[in-house]
């Protein structure tokens, strides 16, 4: 499996999660669990899901993303989905997918800014 490609690192109170380019369903399920376990382990307040490497986002992928956002909320955290490619944004919208009430950012930098602001960092 490609599970080793999923990196979760903690920067301040935020988990930075890099989603691999072409994850299969097992990898996505693994990612979801790893994010939630890391929330607990690192006492994180937020998650940045970096999808800038992702080339194909289908309905299953979108469902796992929006589920993950919801699960992180249940654990008291905030998620920002960062770095969606233009071609993926076009395709996802035309396919009719939504990623729920997830917040999004152009890139990881801005995602961190957004979370920082909402956590009232100095």
């Amino acid at each position: 499996m490609e599970n080793d490609n999923i990196s979760v690192i903690k920067v301040r109170d935020v988990l930075m999660v890099t989603v691999p380019p072409d994850p299969d369903d097992t990898a996505m399920a693994f990612l979801q669990e790893k994010v939630l376990m890391s929330m607990e382990q690192f006492r994180a307040k937020g998650v940045v899901l970096d999808i800038s490497a992702v080339e194909t986002l289908d309905s299953y992928f979108a469902r796992v993303l929006s589920e993950t956002v919801q699960m992180v909320i249940l654990m008291g955290g905030k998620t920002v989905i960062a770095g969606m490619r233009p071609s993926v944004a076009i395709t996802t919208t035309q396919l009719g997918l939504s990623i729920g009430n997830a917040e999004t950012a152009l890139n990881v930098d801005r995602a961190l800014d957004m979370i920082s602001e909402s956590l009232q960092w100095r």
Binding site: D25, T56, P86, S87, V88, I90, T91, L95, L97
Partner: protein
């Protein structure tokens, strides 16, 4: 492997990845643009997933198609699954009988240039999609 046509079996979830990689390789060969590539790869991913979810197994055949003026890709998804009793209903937004989001067929239709569905209950389903290369 002949690059202009071929067949892939779909029987496991991981085959969906192979489908995506194969379609991506063909669109690259055709010199298709990034957005159109993403569209057709995503549609293929949805249709391959449908086979895996509803029929358990099937195949995807691919063909490079030519007209005097342009080239394109044709993907045919064939299964011997339960079939679709009401294609009109299956094409409705939000309609789903499984754990998907109900976007598979109508959503995929919007991502390609042509889509044809032939289905017989108890016999199986064949979904054919075509995407023309706008750059050729």
């Amino acid at each position: 492997m002949d690059d202009r046509q071929g067949e892939l079996s779909i029987g496991r979830e991981s085959d969906v990845i192979v489908v995506r990689q194969t379609v991506r390789k063909i669109t690259k060969l055709l010199g298709m643009g990034l957005t159109d590539t993403t569209r057709v790869v995503t549609a293929a991913s949805e249709l391959a997933r449908n086979i895996f979810l509803y029929a358990e197994s099937g195949v995807m055949r691919w063909n490079v198609i030519d007209t005097p003026s342009c080239q394109g890709i044709e993907l045919v998804f064939v299964d011997q699954g339960p079939g679709i009793p009401d294609i009109g209903q299956a094409m409705q937004e939000g309609y789903t009988t499984s754990k998907g989001l109900g976007m598979g067929l109508p959503g995929s239709r919007r991502l390609v240039d042509e889509m044809e569905i032939v289905s017989a209950v108890g016999k199986g389903t064949t979904v054919t999609i075509k995407k023309w290369n706008r750059r050729s």
